[in-house]
């Protein structure tokens, strides 16, 4: 094991002396101008306005954070709070907190606070920013949260280029749960779940989140910084402010990865832990800017309270009065009910099953029938078989057209079966009600399907459609025959339905000819001596 993989404080000897240097102090660490005289301790540094004065959401010790001495979170919190102050966005800021040591961000930040489920902060942040584009949304996450359980959420938020800022605090371990191995744990680093040190053979390699996300096209700014010494802290502070500023300018997704010490779990003194960040972590996770597209992107002011996908200009939302029209449910846009109401002395009870191969127009045939029924002032239902979009799949649907309220849309015993191919006939022929009809697309009816208690119209409808100029009209030829047989629906309703469902006038014309041909074929078959009774009378 090389020295860079050693983690215990006893064996680690730092090489870089950490000497506070006044010149290196970044903005945000200036001495306080007004210490609170009521407190029995001294405030060494000024409090950012984006922090609460007292941490009242904490149960006790409301003057201090819950973070351990030497923990990086306190430093990162302060840099983030300063950036919020400097950019003047405190009122607009929404901080989405993670699960992990920084679960209590809402104790400290005087901004809108939302606590998210483990790893899901980027998804939560996505929705908040999309719906409230004027807000400044920060997803604050640790390395277990972001790079393990939340790896999908961060990847896709970055890939969508959400205009959010992600602060990613990487301490190479699960700290809050007591020091288990994280995706970011260094090779050889001991944890409670890698007691002999992380091995590439069994735990894989440390995950390089910044490098990984930099391969995407959408992110605008990705930088890895560290808290290894004051110089690095200063750089981290600048990076965090820049990432936030990118969002304020509407540039897009920014992520700052911060290599951060965890003295408690690493079992080091705060000073050694800081040195370890500088001397060891950095070797696995090199610092630097991995992605910077700030100059390529056009700044977008998000002052408008309107929703828009990232990269598009916000549009003004329509008025409520416009909504029904947009949805196509405004009264004036709808077909007139009972447009061609049928008057019948008999109760109408038409139950149709239409079956065939996918692509034969099974569902459309049923839809035209149902639309026409509605136009004729009748009760209707249309129920498709649905399935995966697969080659040579079968398709069928049930249509009910009735005078009375339809109890169930299911059709167990149709009084008309439209079978567009032989497998469909064989599947459903037994279900047809005695006295009902089978309209079959085939030269001749298979002998072993023959029933003496149903009527049959078997014709090569596909071939007949070919003669009309398009095979695809065979469903409409069969519909024509069905309409002539049942005699329930007025032609005007069929015409209205067809025009609602078929937009191309060429197809409307062809379909009308096809239906007329279907009607003729049925009449011709009557002359040929086929026994039949129109359905409307049968009921």
């Amino acid at each position: 094991m090389s020295s860079e993989h050693v983690t215990s404080a006893e064996s680690y000897q730092g090489t870089t002396p950490v000497v506070p240097n006044e010149a290196e102090k970044p903005a945000g660490f200036s001495p306080s101008e007004s210490a609170d005289p009521t407190l029995d301790y001294t405030v060494a540094h000024g409090r950012a306005k984006a922090f609460y004065e007292h941490y009242e959401r904490k149960d006790e010790l409301q003057h201090q954070t819950h973070y351990c001495p030497g923990c990086g979170h306190g430093t990162v919190h302060k840099m983030l709070a300063r950036a919020i102050d400097d950019l003047g966005v405190q009122d607009r800021t929404i901080l989405v907190g993670p699960v992990g040591c920084s679960v209590f961000t809402y104790y400290y930040f005087d901004v809108g606070n939302v606590q998210a489920a483990h790893g899901r902060a980027p998804a939560v942040a996505t929705a908040m920013k999309r719906s409230r584009p004027n807000s400044i949304v920060i997803s604050y996450q640790g390395d277990g949260d972001l790079s393990a359980i939340g790896s999908a959420e961060i990847l896709h938020a970055a890939n969508r280029g959400e205009n959010i800022t992600v602060i990613f605090v990487n301490n190479a371990i699960y700290s809050m749960t007591g020091g288990q191995c994280a995706p970011t744990t260094l090779l050889g680093q001991k944890s409670t779940t890698t007691p002999d040190g992380r091995s590439a053979a069994t735990e894989g390699y440390p995950l390089h989140v910044s490098e990984l996300l930099s391969t995407l096209e959408a992110p605008v700014y990705i930088e890895r910084v560290a808290l290894g010494d004051n110089k690095q802290v200063a750089q981290a502070s600048r990076a965090i402010k820049r990432a936030l500023e990118n969002q304020v300018r509407g540039l897009g997704f920014s992520l700052i990865e911060v290599l951060s010490p965890c003295p408690t779990i690493w079992k080091m003194t705060p000073v050694d832990a800081q040195r370890w960040v500088h001397d060891v972590m950095e070797k696995t996770f090199p610092l630097g800017v991995f992605c910077d597209r700030t100059k390529e992107r056009t700044p977008q002011p998000h002052a408008l309270e309107s929703s828009a996908a990232p990269g598009t200009l916000p549009k003004a939302a329509p008025t409520l009065a416009d909504i029904p029209g947009i949805l196509g449910v405004a009264e004036e846009n709808l077909p007139e009910g009972n447009a061609h109401a049928v008057v019948s002395e008999h109760d109408i009870d038409l139950q149709v099953r239409i079956a065939g191969f996918g692509g034969q127009g099974v569902l459309l045939l049923g839809e035209v029938l149902a639309e026409a029924g509605l136009d004729a002032g009748l009760e209707v239902s249309w129920l498709p078989s649905y399935g995966p979009e697969m080659r040579s799949g079968t398709s069928n649907c049930c249509v009910r057209i009735e005078s009375e309220t339809i109890d169930s849309p299911l059709v167990n015993s149709p009084n008309v079966l439209v079978a567009m191919n032989e497998p469909s006939l064989r599947k459903f022929d037994k279900s047809v009600r005695p006295g009902g009809w089978v309209i079959y697309n085939g030269d001749e009816f298979p002998a072993n399907c023959a029933r003496d208690d149903v009527h049959v119209l078997a014709l090569p409808f596909t071939h007949l459609a070919d003669e009309l100029g398009d095979t695809r009209a065979s469903n409409m030829v069969m519909l024509g025959a069905l309409l002539e047989i049942t005699g329930v629906l007025p032609q005007a309703s069929i015409d209205a339905a067809l025009r609602r469902l078929v937009k191309n006038p060429r197809w409307v014309e062809l379909d009308e000819r096809a239906m007329a041909r279907g009607r003729e074929l049925y009449k011709e078959s009557l002359l040929g001596g086929v026994k039949c009774v129109p359905m409307a009378i049968q009921t």
Partner: protein, 359 residues
């Protein structure tokens, strides 16, 4: 009011937008995908947000974010996707966030199949996520109810600050029926608790974490009290020919439709049969069950699952009447004949038992 022919799945989206919903986060799954597809078309046109999430896990957490921002928001999925959402549903119930989730159920367990089944009853009605919470569950049985109950779902979600699930089977989602939208389009105002990135909402916090045990107990008790109010006020059921019913058929969703057809036939055969169709599965319409138990000799629960609804019926009746059970699973649907035969058998047995008791 003019009606138009529309799929149940599409009716959900149109009703949602009319109800002020302005955000949809989804992930494709049969037989619920039309909901996402319709949302992708109409949500942006209505000035709302549509995001196709990377998973149902992300989708439900986007819902958490949208709801936190004070937006009326929804998602839709089917069994396997709803399983993945359970974590987020628990968080939303814990953080008291309103939202609407449509579950257009399919066959299970596992990948099961894509046919209509009702096996999601337990995971949705009893809450498949962790912790002490409930979700309000509405069960439409027609396209018109898909529209009407979606509007109600948004209302209840806001009133109780709680997730509301529309539990519909693949049939109700996929079928087309005439539907009307008599309601005016409404907007939604900013809830006082939302976190919306404004000065007024800056002090607000959305959170489900309560480290202190007493604090969490208070929170859970407060949720319970809220659910109790919902139980008293929001239970809904449809009664069909129940005035003189001696045998009460019980089923929700598409089964409710089948039971109505069976009732017509059974009554034509001289049997006093009626239907009690729960519209809210939580809160369960316990009072309606107890009221019908005065006249009914027996209840027959029909479900497209392996005995999930029947448990709630038994709890509601608390042993006061016999509860019979007929189930089909795997995507098979109980046929009229199958149910009718069962009803005839049940009627004979009930009469025999009565005769025996009188001897």
């Amino acid at each position: 009011m003019r009606k138009q022919l529309m799929k149940g799945n599409e009716a959900i989206v149109k009703s949602a937008i009319l109800s002020g919903c302005r955000a949809f986060y989804g992930y494709p799954i049969t037989p619920a995908s039309e909901i996402a597809e319709a949302a992708a078309v109409f949500m942006p046109k209505a000035g709302g947000v549509y995001v196709q999430a990377e998973s149902e896990v992300a989708a439900i957490n986007m819902l958490y974010g949208g709801a936190s921002a004070g937006i009326r928001a929804m998602t839709a999925s089917s069994g396997p996707g709803i399983s993945l959402m359970q974590e987020g549903i628990s968080y939303m119930a814990g953080a008291e966030l309103p939202c609407v989730i449509a579950d257009i159920t399919r066959g299970g367990p596992g990948l099961g199949n894509i046919a209509a089944e009702q096996g999601d009853y337990h995971q949705v009605v009893k809450g498949g996520g962790h912790g002490n919470y409930r979700t309000i569950v509405l069960a439409p049985h027609s396209v018109q109810e898909m529209a009407d109950l979606t509007a109600l779902a948004f209302e209840l979600a806001d009133r109780y600050r709680n997730p509301v699930v529309i539990l519909a089977d693949g049939f109700v989602g996929q079928m087309m029926e005439p539907v009307a939208f008599p309601q005016k389009a409404i907007g939604s105002s900013m809830p006082p608790w939302a976190v919306a990135g404004t000065a007024e909402t800056r002090p607000n916090m959305i959170n489900s974490l309560h480290m202190d045990v007493d604090d969490l107990e208070r929170h859970v008790r407060a949720l319970e009290a809220k659910y109790k109010i919902a139980e008293q006020r929001e239970a809904r059921a449809e009664e069909w020919c129940t005035a003189d019913a001696e045998i009460v058929l019980v089923g929700y969703g598409i089964v409710g439709r089948i039971l109505k057809a069976v009732t017509a036939e059974a009554r034509a055969n001289g049997l006093k049969v009626g239907v009690l169709r729960p519209i809210t599965l939580y809160p369960f319409p316990v009072v309606q069950f107890q009221r019908l138990a005065f006249n009914a000799r027996a209840f027959l629960v029909v479900e497209m699952s392996n005995g999930q609804l029947v448990e709630d019926v038994k709890l509601a009746l608390n042993g006061s009447r016999p509860v019979e059970f007929l189930s089909r699973v795997g995507g098979n649907v109980p046929s009229h004949e199958e149910v009718l035969n069962f009803v005839h058998g049940l009627a004979r047995r009930t009469v025999d038992e009565e005769r025996m008791a009188n001897v």
